[in-house]
Amino acid sequence: MRCTLFFAILTSWPVFLLAQPVELPSLSIEGTRIDAAVSYDGARGVYRYCYTLVAPSTNKAAVGNFRIDITGRVPRPQLDPDLAGNVARDEAEGVVLQPPTTIPVGITVPDPVQWSATVGKPGWVGFRKRFGGISPGTTASEIIVESKLPPGIRTAYIKPSGRIWSDITLASPAGTEFHPDSVEAFEIKVDVIGPSDPDETALFLGGGQSPHEVNPFLRYAAPTEARTTLAPGTASYRVVVFYGRTIDPGTFSAELNGATATTLFHPIAGTAEVITIPLLPGSNKLKLSVEGTTSGGRTGRDADTLTFLVE
C-alpha cells in the first residue's frame, strides 16, 4: 500500500545545528526534512505513518540514518502481529534492545535489502539506507510505520553518514585526534508526527461544557489550555485532537478566525489526528464543535474555542 491516502502532510525543519567542523570536512545536512502523512485503518484500528526524507542537494554528506522517538509510558509486547512490516525484526530472534515501554510498531521500508530499519535501544524507530546512505539531492519515501497508538509530536534525529571521514580517520596513526570528534556534531533534531502515548485521562477537554459526559467529545494533547501564547513570528500550530468514541463525525465543524476550517480535520470516532493550523500575528481563534451520544442515549454537543496569541 502506497502512501497515497493521507490526511495531512507536515514538514519538519531542523531545530538547531550542532557543532561546526574544524579539521575534518563538513558533514552538514542542514535543510534535510522529514514529511509525514498519517492515515487511519479503521478496520484494523491501526495508524499508518508514511515518511518521506528529503535530502537537499546542498547537503555536504549523505544522510546516514534517521530515528524517531517512540518512547511510551507503559510496558507492551514489542511485536504485534496486527502491525504490518517487511523488516526482519531482532525481537523475533529474541534480541530486544529497547525498553518494554517503547510503542510497538510495524516497519516497512522501500527495499529490505537496501534498507535497514529497527527499533533501537533508546526507544526509537530508526531507518538507514545501507552502503552510502541517502545522497544529497535525493528523496527517500515509502518509509512506513504502523502503530495502534495515536499521532503526536515526536522528536526525530537525522544523522549524516561518516563514511567520507572514515577514509581519513582509519588511515591515520594511532593517537591522532580529529575535530569534530563525532558525526553527531552534524546531527539535526526535528519535530515529526509519530506514534505517541499520551495519558488520555489527562488530556485537555477544551473548556467546561455541561453535562460532564459531553465535554470529552473533543480532547486535546495540544494545546493544553484554552489560551496559548506563542513566540513572535510563529506561523502555525499543531493541534493534536482526540475524537470521542461516540461522536457523530458528520456534525463536526471547525472555524478558524471566523472562516470555516472543517475540511482541515478528518474526524473519526475514537481516533486522534494532528492538524497544522496557520496563524496570524495577534489573537487567533479556533472553534471546534461536534455532537455525540451520551451513555443515556441523549445527544449533546461539545463546542470548544481555542485561542492562540502570537505575540
Binding site: L18, A19, Q20, L24, G64, N65, R67, D90, V95, L97, S116, A117, T118, G120, K121, P122, G126, F127, R128, R130, F131, G133, K159, S161, G162, R163, W165, S166, D167, T169, L170, A171, S172, P173, A174, G175, T176, E177, F178, H179, P180, D181, S182, V183, E184, A185
Partner: protein, 584 residues
Amino acid sequence: MAGFLSGDSVFSASASRQREEVGAAAEVPPQAPPIPADAIRIGTASSLVRHPEGFVTPMYERVSRPRLSRFRTSSDVPRYSEGFDGNAILVDEAGTAPRSDYMIAVQSGYVTGGGCFPVAPDSTDCLMEPDSSGNLRAVMKEREVWTFRISYIDPSDPSIPERELTSRTLTWVARTSTGRSCFTFYTWYCNEYGIDLDEILDLYQGIQPDCSMKLGAGYRSQIFYQYSRYSITEADSLPPGTPIWEPATNPATPTRLAEPGKQIWIRNWKLGPGENALRVGPQSAIINPSVPLRYPDKLDLTMTNVGGATTTKIDPGETKLTAVATECGKVFPGVNFTGTIEHVEGSGGHRHGVSNDSTPPSGRVSDAPVTFSGTTDSNGKWTSPFTIKAGEFAGDYAIKAETADLGVEPGVAVPFQTESQLRVGFRGLWRLIPNAADGILMVGHDYASGTCETQNCDNHQNMNHNARLEMHDFVGGLAKVFRKTLNTTGLMGVNDMSLPFGGAFDIEGTWGTGSHITHRLGVDVDINRYIYFAAGAPQSLTPDEIDELTEEANLKIGARRINESSIHFRMPAVDIDALLSGGL
C-alpha cells in the same frame, strides 16, 4: 577408629590416647547439646603422669600459659575450629588495654583433669586410704572446677561492689553416668560415644569493652581452682558441714565477689582510651578527578557539572581533612597530632609496569600535602586549613595520624593512631567480565596475550576494562550488532575502556594527559578493527564494514562513534549527564 565431633575439632578415642586434631567434623546428632564453638579447643590427654605403682599423680590446678590477651578486631579472635589461634597482643601486669579492642580475654593453654587426691594441697603425694578389703589405695579426685573471671573493683571507692564482667566455669568429673571421665560441657558426647575427655587444649573467655566501663586501673583477670574427692552423688549424702571442695570457696561479701577456691593466676590491668579516640580523615572519602572536556563545542550542550551547572569541564573534587578526638561522649581538646598523606603506589590502575614510574608528580592525582599537623579545639575537633584538590588522575591515599597524648590517664603503650583513605576517582565503574556467550574477546590488557599494539598496555595491565554498568550493557548490545551486521560468529575485540576509577589514562605510564583523553568517565570503549576467532588469525575489517557496523550500532543502540584511528564508541550524552548528576 571413629572420629567424634567436639565444639571445634574431632578427637579420637584410641587406646593410645594420642592427641589428634582433625579439621573435618562428623555429623552432629540433632539431639546433641551445643558446646562452646570457637572458644575452646579440646583434645585427649597425652601428658598424664602415671605413678610407678599405677596411680596417677595429683594434677593440681594444672593450667598452662595463662595470659591476658587483647584482640584488636573480630578477625583477630581465635577460631579454633578453623585452626586459627588468633592474633593476640599480650597485656603485662599493670598494663593497659584500649577500649577500642574488640575483645580482652583470659586465655590459656592446657587444662587437664584427673589425678589422685593429694595428701595436702601442695603435696605431690597421693592420699592413701584402705579400701573395703583393708588394702591401701590412692584416693582419686572425683571433681575439679576451674573458674576464669574478669572483674572490676573501682579503686576510687572500695565500698563499691566488685563487678563481674565475665566468668566461665570448667568442671571435670571422674565418672559420668556411664562411667566416663569428662568435662561436663561435653558429657553428652562422652556418654554417647563412650569416650573420655580429660584435656582442654586452648580456651579463652573475654569481654568486649564498652562505654560503661571506666578508664583506669581496677580490672582483674583471674583463674580459680578447686577439687573434690566426692562425686555429686556422694556429696549429697555427706553429713552437713563436711568440706566438699578443696580449697573451700571464700564466700562473697557485700563489696567483693566470692573466690571459688585457690587463685592460681591473676593479672591486674587498666582500661585505656580506645586507639580510635583520635580519628582523622577526609570530609569526602572520594573526590572526582578533574576532566577537561576536549570538545566543548559539542559536549557543553549536554554535560552537567558537579552541583548542577552546565559546563564545558568537570571541575576537580575537593576535600578538607577533619579530626576528632572523642570517645564515649568525652571530647579531648588540645590534642596535638601529626599525620602523613601517602599516595598508594599502583592505585587507580597506575601500576605502570613498563615505565616503572608509579609515583605521580604532585598535582597529578591531587595536591595533598605529604605531612600535616594540628591541634583539636575545645570541642575536640579540627579542620585542616588546607584543601585537597583532585588532579586529573585517579588514585588512593593512605592518611595516617597519631598522637602520644590524649591528655587523659591512663595513656597507652603506643601512640593513638588513626588511618583512613582518600580516593580520587569516579564512583560506579566496574570491571567488565564478559560471558563466553557474549561474543567478546577482551584485548589490550596484557602484552603476553598478543592483543596489544605495544608493550605499553602493561602499564595498566588488566586494569583497562572498567566502565559504568550502562556501558557494560552497551558493549553487550554492541557485540550482538557486531555479529549480526558482519554476519560472523567471530568475536568482537574490546580494547581500552577506563581505569578502575576513571581519570586520565596515560598509555605511556608517564603521568601525561595527552593520550586517551576521553577514556576517563567509564563511558568510552575502543573496539579493535578485527574479527577474532578461537583458532587462526584475526580478520581485518574493511572501512566499509566498519562504516556499516558504526551505522547499525548507532541505529540499534544509539552508539556514538568518536573519531579515532580505532573504532571508539562513547555512551550517548544523556548517560553522561546521569554520571555527573547522580554519580558524584
